[in-house]
């Protein structure tokens, strides 16, 4: 039996397919389409890759901000629930899960059976989200993938201390004008993002192990800065961005039991 999870995010749709409690397929599709359509396209791609018809899926659970738009889903779950579930499945030692996506970030606390016991979300401000990093790449004329590695190569860290995304951007511009090297600014940016993330983590009272999920977990600069701030190592799965979809697929499996 096959189970799918679909995570409809702010910028991309993630799909995970499970069979016999094993992950058999995963994908990330960046799209401009509206949620429901994008979800369908992404799932079709999965089915093509797996050479299977739609009705071979026993259950599909959707999550992410666009979860309500997925008409063919048999169930839906929130991001906090799915990321927790996925992270705990990958790392049974997970007690704190941090998901950082394009549109927002959230920290979840789990008990030793993987049950969600507390969670906290970002405030409305964009600072600390993936889209803030996107904006930074535009201001600094770099690519998203480079940010992390450039940041860790920096010898010094420029100060980006404002807690408001708009202010932070003007601080970055100030740094550019003062001739601060790009990698130092990026180190400052990563650090400031990590500070935001540490805030939500502290809200749920951090416990070991921390698992980081979502696209921003691929940014080594942010991860390293976060580890420095909270004084703990973070576990990052191989494909952090699909953990939400994975959790949704696990729920699909559970629903059919």
């Amino acid at each position: 039996m096959l189970f799918a999870g679909i995570d409809v995010g702010a910028q991309s749709v993630k799909v995970a397919v499970l069979s016999d409690n094993k992950l058999v397929f995963s994908s990330t599709t960046v799209t401009d389409e509206e949620g429901g359509v994008a979800a369908r396209q992404a799932l079709d791609k999965a089915l093509v890759a797996l050479r299977l018809p739609l009705n071979s899926l026993t259950a599909v659970v959707s999550t992410g901000i666009g979860k309500d738009g997925v008409a063919f889903a048999t169930g839906k779950r929130t991001e906090e629930i799915c990321h927790s579930r996925g992270a705990y499945w990958l790392f049974p030692s997970a007690r704190t899960v941090l998901d950082v996506g394009a549109g927002g970030y959230r920290a979840m606390r789990l008990d030793n059976r993987g049950k969600l016991i507390d969670f906290a979300n970002n405030s409305k401000c964009a600072a600390g989200t993936g889209s803030f990093l996107d904006a930074v790449t535009r201001v600094l004329d770099t690519r998203l993938e480079e940010i992390g590695t450039m940041a860790v190569s920096a010898k010094k860290r420029a100060s980006v201390s404002s807690y408001c995304a708009v202010f932070a951007e003007s601080e970055i511009i100030g740094n550019i004008h003062r001739g601060v090297p790009k990698e130092c600014i990026l180190a400052g940016v990563c650090y400031s993002v990590a500070e935001r993330l540490a805030e939500v983590l502290h809200r749920v009272k951090i416990a070991k192990d921390i698992v980081m999920t979502g696209g921003v977990a691929q940014n080594i600069g942010v991860v390293k800065a976060l580890e420095e701030i909270v004084g703990l190592k973070a576990k990052v799965p191989h494909e952090p961005q699909i953990v939400g979809a994975l959790g949704a697929a696990l729920f699909a499996e559970e629903m059919s039991k």
């Binding site: 100060s159 201390s161 404002s162 807690y163 408001c164 003007s170 100030g174 805030e199 502290h202 809200r203």
Partner: protein
């Protein structure tokens, strides 16, 4: 010009006596540590709560509010590294992580965070000492009630709130024998807002506050075992009265042209009177300040040699960068007065019932003539009066986004001064200790435009 603002927490001093505030403060904190070490009681309290009763009953007052100011000036362990955040920022974050919203007063967040660290000593000047009780007031703002109550809960110590009913809509009906004297609050003013009246407190209000002062004395007796002694209380009240007279006299000198003292110093010399009223030290401090100002005024010595425009400062200090308050000085602009925690004459001494006297005083201060502490109309008219009395040509409005009593009247003050009196204004928009909310580039662009406007405008004829 923007490049010239140095990131210093301290402002340039315009009077010698202002240099003595810092040693005074340090001594206060050192004394608190000794006091505690000797096993004597400490109360956490706040500005606008007269300290006389505490002084008279040998309870040492410490003020989280003021400690908030200190955390804005230092980095951890006295570090000078700009990458180490100010203590205020470190503490505010801790409070926010605990669930306190970032729109709360910076003083509240900073001191809650300080308490949450669990190690009070690891902080500027050795931190606050753990309290034996918390005594606060309802006047000025709601936050000081709730935030100090949280601190009492946190330390699990007895809590006392003394309620000063305030901010009356002073258009009350003339109740026979009670609210009978309704005085126009600024009848001498010719133009503009004249519909705000100041009605003296009614008997039931004075009774209410008097009972509470008596009750507080009982509370302190219960908590500390110290006995209330009326003679002792009267001695302290005498000193406080004399000190207030001095401070009022100082205000008169500050009206002089050229201005003998800046608002930055005005905010700093507030300390002895606000937090240690009723002590000989406070009295001596103001004698010295008064003498210095008197001399300066006689000698016609101004803060800056060529005074081009005079401005009011509305709001509290931007403590994380007090140098901002000197920003206009090199082009001849000076902040001459800061009508906040405004002073008013004390009611006459009545040694046979000092509690009632104190009740009357606190009511007059909180409900009537106290600028931002009164009703919104009173705040506006206080500013109008101050502009006239101090011959101000402009005003900088501190849009103190986290302090309700300061921020609520801002729009109205700006509007009335501009529309009815032609006094232009600009703003500073941030918290008072949490510098994360401050945007320098934006602020200074606005201020530069304002400076040009002021230079063009020239002095105002009053």
């Amino acid at each position: 010009m923007a490049e010239e603002v140095k990131k210093t927490a301290t402002s340039k001093k315009s009077v010698e006596t202002a240099r003595k505030v810092w040693p005074y403060v340090k001594e206060d904190y050192a004394m608190a540590h000794e006091w505690k070490a000797a096993g004597k009681p400490i109360a956490w309290t706040c500005a606008m709560l007269p300290k006389e009763l505490l002084q008279a009953m040998d309870v040492y007052p410490q003020n989280p509010e003021h400690y908030g100011v200190l955390t804005a000036m230092f980095r951890r362990g006295g570090s000078k590294d700009p990458n180490v955040v100010k203590e205020a920022v470190r503490f505010c974050k801790l409070a926010e992580e605990e669930g306190f919203a970032s729109y709360n007063c910076g003083y509240a967040r900073a001191t809650i965070g300080h308490a949450l660290t669990g190690d009070l000593k690891d902080a500027p000047l050795g931190g606050l000492e753990p309290p034996d009780m918390v005594i606060t007031t309802s006047c000025v703002c709601d936050q000081r009630g709730k935030w100090l109550r949280y601190l009492a809960q946190k330390f699990n110590v007895p809590f006392y709130l003394i309620d000063f009913p305030e901010r009356g809509s002073d258009l009350a009906y003339d109740m026979p024998g009670q609210r009978n004297a309704i005085l126009p609050y600024h009848s001498s003013l010719k133009r503009g807002v004249t519909d705000i009246y100041y009605s003296p407190p009614a008997d039931y209000e004075i009774d209410y506050v008097e009972c509470q002062w008596r009750d507080l004395a009982k509370f302190i007796e219960d908590v500390t075992g110290h006995k209330y002694d009326q003679d002792r209380f009267n001695e302290v009240m005498d000193l406080a009265y004399k000190t207030n007279e001095l401070r009022l006299e100082i205000l008169e000198y500050r009206k002089a042209v050229p201005a003998p003292m800046t608002s930055a110093d005005g905010l700093s010399v507030m300390y002895p009177g606000t937090y240690t009223s009723g002590t000989q030290r406070a009295y001596d401090f103001y004698v010295e300040l008064r003498d210095e100002l008197r001399q300066k005024v006689e000698d016609k010595l101004g803060v800056i040699p060529d005074e081009k425009f005079r401005m009011l400062w509305y709001g509290l200090g931007p403590w994380f960068n007090m140098a901002l308050m000197n920003y206009f000085e090199n082009i001849g602009g000076v902040f001459i007065y800061e009508p906040i925690y405004n002073l008013a004459p004390f009611p006459p001494r009545t040694p046979e019932n000092p509690f009632r006297e104190l009740a009357l005083r606190t009511l007059q201060q909180s409900g009537g003539m106290m600028g931002p502490m009164g009703s919104l109309g009173q705040t506006v008219s206080t500013l109008v009066n101050a502009a006239r009395d101090y011959k101000a040509a402009g005003i900088v409005l501190f849009y103190l986004i986290t302090c309700r009593p300061v921020v609520y009247p801002v729009v109205e003050i700006g509007r009335v001064l501009e529309e009815e009196f032609g006094i232009p204004s600009t703003t500073l928009e941030c918290d008072l200790v949490d510098e994360r909310s401050y945007n320098e580039a934006q602020t200074l662009t606005r201020w530069d435009a304002f400076a040009e406007q002021m230079l063009k405008k020239g002095p105002v004829a009053y």
